[in-house]
Amino acid sequence: MAPENGNGKKYRVIGTRPIRHDGVDKVTGDARYGADVHLPGMLHGKVLRSPHAHARIVSIDTSKAEAHPSVRAVITGADLPGGIGKPSHAAVHNILADDKVLYHGHPVAAVAAINLHDAEAALDLIDVEYDVLDPVMDVRDAMKDDATLLHDSLMTSGIGEESDKPSNISQHFRHEHGSLDEGFTAADYVIEREFTTAMVHQGYVEPQNATAHVTPEGRVTVWCSTQAAFGVREEVADMCDIPLSNIKVVPMEIGGGFGGKLFVVLEPLAVLMSAKSGKPVKMTMTRAEVLQATGPTSGSWIKVRMGAKANGKLTAAEVVLAYEAGAYAGSPVSMAAMCVLAPYLLEHVRIDGYDVVVNRPKAGAYRAPGATNAAYGSESVIDELAGMCGMDGVEFRLLNAVKEGDRRADGPVYARIGFVETLEAAQDSEHWQTPLGEPSNGSTSRGRGIASGFWFNIAGNASATLTVNADGKLTLIEGSVDIGGSRVVMAMIVAEVLGLEAEDIHPIVGDTDAVGYTDFTGGSSTAHKMGWVCHEAALKIKAEVVERAAKMLEVDPSEVTYHDDATLTASSKPDDKLTFADVAAAANGTGGPITADYSKNSGGAGPGFATHVVDVEVDTDTGKVEILRFTAIQDVGRAMHPSYVEGQIQGGAVQGVGWALNEEYFYDDKGLLVNDSYLDYRIPTTLDVPMIEAVLVEVPNPHHPYGVRGVGETPIIPPVAAIGNAIADATGKRMYHTPMNPGYVITRLLG
C-alpha cells in the first residue's frame, strides 16, 4: 500500500516499486556504457604514468614515440593550457604532471595510436629522466617539522598559524564552543583513544573512460562515464581553454561512481589528442590505473576524548582529525569535522581538523566523504563510554541524541530529524531483541555492535523538460546522470502529479546540449533536487492541460477540474469528460505541442541519520571476523521507490563491511602501490556477507514536496564502527585501526 505524505494524502505511485525503465537494456547487455562507444577511425589513447612516488621531472623526450608509425598524437603537461610552467591549479597538474610527480601512477604523458596495443608499446618509447625524492606516505610523518615537502609553495592556512614556512599541512581549522575544562571536570568518566584508518577506494566495477571528438571547426563532443556531465564540460573548457558552449558532454550509462567519478581524469587528455590528430580518441583505464591514479578516500589519524557523567549524559568532547589529502590539498576533513559529533547534544566541544598532503593519489569523494573514518573514532568511544556507564548502546545514544531545535556540534540548528526514530527502531528490531546464539566452536566468540552516523545530504541545481506525446504519454529529459535507478523515480513523480502510471513516462538523461544545467549526481541530492524539478514541470503540464481542456470543452479554465485518474471535467458540463490522452491527441490543434521545462536551485536538504546493528563471530585463533547478521536502519525521509532505497542502504553497508575488514591501499617502502588489482585490493564478495536487512524509517523532510532527505551516503558511515564495537563485544578487545583484518585482530587479541 502506498504511504501517506505529511498532509495525510495517499500517494498513488510514490512508494510503489515499478520496474525501472532502463532495466531491460541492463539485463540484456544493450545498455551503452562509455567503454562501448565506437566511432569510425577512432584512435586509442594510453597514459604514461610515474613509476615513482615522488620525483622531479628533469626531462621528457617524446620524439621516439612520435616517430612510431601507429602513433598520431603525443602530449605532455606542456600541451595543457594550464599545464607545465603555467599558472594553474592542482586539478590540472593531477591529470598531467607539472615539474614533479607526486604519486605512483601520476600521469606524465599520453599517446594516441591506431590501436590499443601500439599505444601501449609507444609509451615505452618515451624517455623521462627523474630526480627521485623521498616519499611521504603517512599523515603523521607528513606533519612533522622536518618532513620532506611535496610542494615548495604550500603554506598552512587556517587558525593562528599563518606562516611563510612551507608545510605539508595545507589547512588547520577548529570548531569550538563551551569550555572543555568545565565539561571534562563535570564528567565521571573520561576516555581518550587514537584511531588510524587506511586509504580505501570506491571500487566501482566500471573503470573510467572517455572518448572525444574535436571537429576542424573546434566543436567538441565527449562521451564518458561521469557523475557530473556539466562538471566535465566546465573542466574540459577550463583545462583545454575551449569555449564552454563549444563542448557537448554525453554522459553514457555509468558503472558505479560513489563519488569517484565527480572529476575528470581522462577527458581533457582525449580532447587534446583528438584536436592534435584530427581523429576521435578513446581512452579507458585498466583496473591498476583506477587504483593507482583516480580519487580514493583519505587514510586518517583520529584522536577522540569524551567525558560522561555516571548517568550516561555526555559532558564534553575533543576531537582531532588529520586526513591525508593525497598529492594535492583537499581531503574531506572539513566534512568529517562537521559530522563527527553531529548525532549528539554537547555543550563543550572542540574539533580540530588538519588537511595534509602525502605522496598518494589526490583524494576524491567517496560516499559520505570523511564521515566513516570520523565515526569509527567517535562511535567506538561512545560505545566504550556506554559500557562504563552500565548502559547499552541504544539507551546511551537515546539519552544524548540530537532532536529538532538542537544545535549541531559545529553550529547549525537542526530542523525536524529522525535520529531518535532510528534508535527506537533498532531497539524494537527483532535483531536487537534476539540473543546472539552460541559460537560455532571452541575457538570462536560472538559479539554484537551498534553504531550511528550523520550525513548532511545536499540539494542544488537541476533542470528537466517534459514533452506530451500524441498518445497521451510523456517523454522526460532530465539532467541528472542516473547512477542507480533515479530515472524511474523521476517518472514516478511525473506520474503521481498527472494521475498516470510510471510506465506512461519515458525518462532519459540528456546530454549537456539537450537539457539545462544540472549539478552532479552525488551528495545524495538527485531524488531531492531532480525530483523537485520534475514535480514542478509536471505541475506546469497539468496547468496547460487544464487550459487546453477548457478550450476543447468551450468553458472557462476555472471551471475545469483535473481528477486524480487523469480525467478532466467542467462544472457546467458534467457529462463531457475528457482524458489526459484526449487533450494530448488534440494538442497541435488547441494551441500547439504541450511541453514544460523547469529549472531550480533547491535548498532545504534534509539531514540523514542511520543506526546499524551487526553480529560477528571472531575466530580467536586466526583473527578472522565473519558477519553473521546485519540490520541497517535509516531515516530516509520518504522512500520514493523502496526497492532502490533498500538497495542503496544494503550496498552502502557492504562497502562499509569491506572498509572495516579487508580494504586498504598497500604501499611498499618506496611508496609504490603493490595491491593494484581486485585480487589484492579485495572488495566483499557474495560469500563475505549475509543478507542485509534494511529498515526504512520515514520522517519526512519538511523542506521538500515529497519529504525526500537523500539516502545514498549515510549507510556507509556506521558499519566500520559497528563492526569494531561488535568485535570488542566478542573479544573484550577494542579496535583502533582499519582494516580489522585477521592480522590486526589477532595482534590485538594477543596484545
Binding site: R17, I19, R20, D22, G23, V24, K26, V27, T28, G29, D30, A31, R32, Y33, A35, D36, H38, H117, Q202, G203, Y204, V205, E206, P207, E253, I254, G255, G256, G257, F258, T284, T286, R287, I483, G484, G485, H641, S643, Y644, E646, G647, Q648, Q650, G651, G652, A653, V654, Q655, S677, Y678, L679, I683, P684, T685, T686, L687, V689, M691, I692, A694
Partner: protein, 161 residues
C-alpha cells in the same frame, strides 16, 4: 608479432569467423571484433566476472580466455540469454527484485546465474553465494541479487514441473 589467424566458433548459436591476433582475448573478440559489448571489462584479469560467458558449458571470464582457444567452441553471452519471445525468467527476476543499480556487473551475473541454475535448479542460499562469488558487485551488497536468483530458481522449477 605473430600472424593473425582465422577463428571460427559459435556465439549464441550463430557461426562467426574472425581474423584475430593470437594475443587477443575472447573479450576483445566479442567486444571489438563482433561489437557485442554486453560483456563488460571491469578488471581484465579474471577477478571481477563482468565479462562472464559460458564456453562449451563452462563458466569462464572472457578476459582471460584467448580468442584462438575458442576455435570450434560454443559461446553463450548475455546477448544470447533473452529470446524473441522475451526476457529469460532470470532477467525478469533481476528486474522485479531491483537486483541491479549501475548495471555494469549485471550481464556477468545473469550469465553466471544461468550456468548455476542449469547445473543446479534448486540451490540453497549458500550455494548461490558460492557459485556467484566470482562476480563482483559494488552497488547492491548482493542481497537483492541472491533473492532474485532464488526466486528465479523457484519459478523455473515450477515451469519445468
Amino acid at each position: 608479432m605473430a600472424k593473425k589467424r582465422i577463428v571460427s566458433f559459435n556465439v549464441n548459436g550463430e557461426a562467426v569467423e574472425v581474423l584475430a591476433e593470437p594475443r587477443e582475448s575472447l573479450l576483445e573478440i566479442l567486444r571489438d571484433h563482433l561489437r557485442m559489448t554486453g560483456s563488460k571489462e571491469g578488471c581484465n584479469n579474471g577477478n571481477c566476472g563482468a565479462c562472464t560467458v559460458i564456453l562449451d558449458g563452462r563458466v569462464v571470464n572472457a578476459c582471460i580466455v584467448l580468442g584462438v582457444e575458442c576455435e570450434g567452441g560454443e559461446v553463450t553471452t548475455i546477448e544470447g540469454i533473452a529470446s524473441a519471445d522475451g526476457l529469460h525468467e532470470i532477467q525478469r527476476k533481476y528486474l522485479e527484485h531491483a537486483a541491479l543499480q549501475c548495471g555494469v556487473c549485471t550481464p556477468g551475473f545473469i550469465v553466471a546465474t544461468k550456468a548455476l541454475l542449469d547445473a543446479n535448479p534448486d540451490p540453497t542460499e549458500h550455494e548461490v553465494r558460492e557459485r556467484l562469488a566470482g562476480n563482483l558487485c559494488r552497488c547492491t551488497g548482493y542481497d537483492k541479487i541472491v533473492r532474485a536468483v532464488l526466486d528465479a530458481a523457484e519459478t523455473m522449477r515450477g515451469e519445468a514441473g
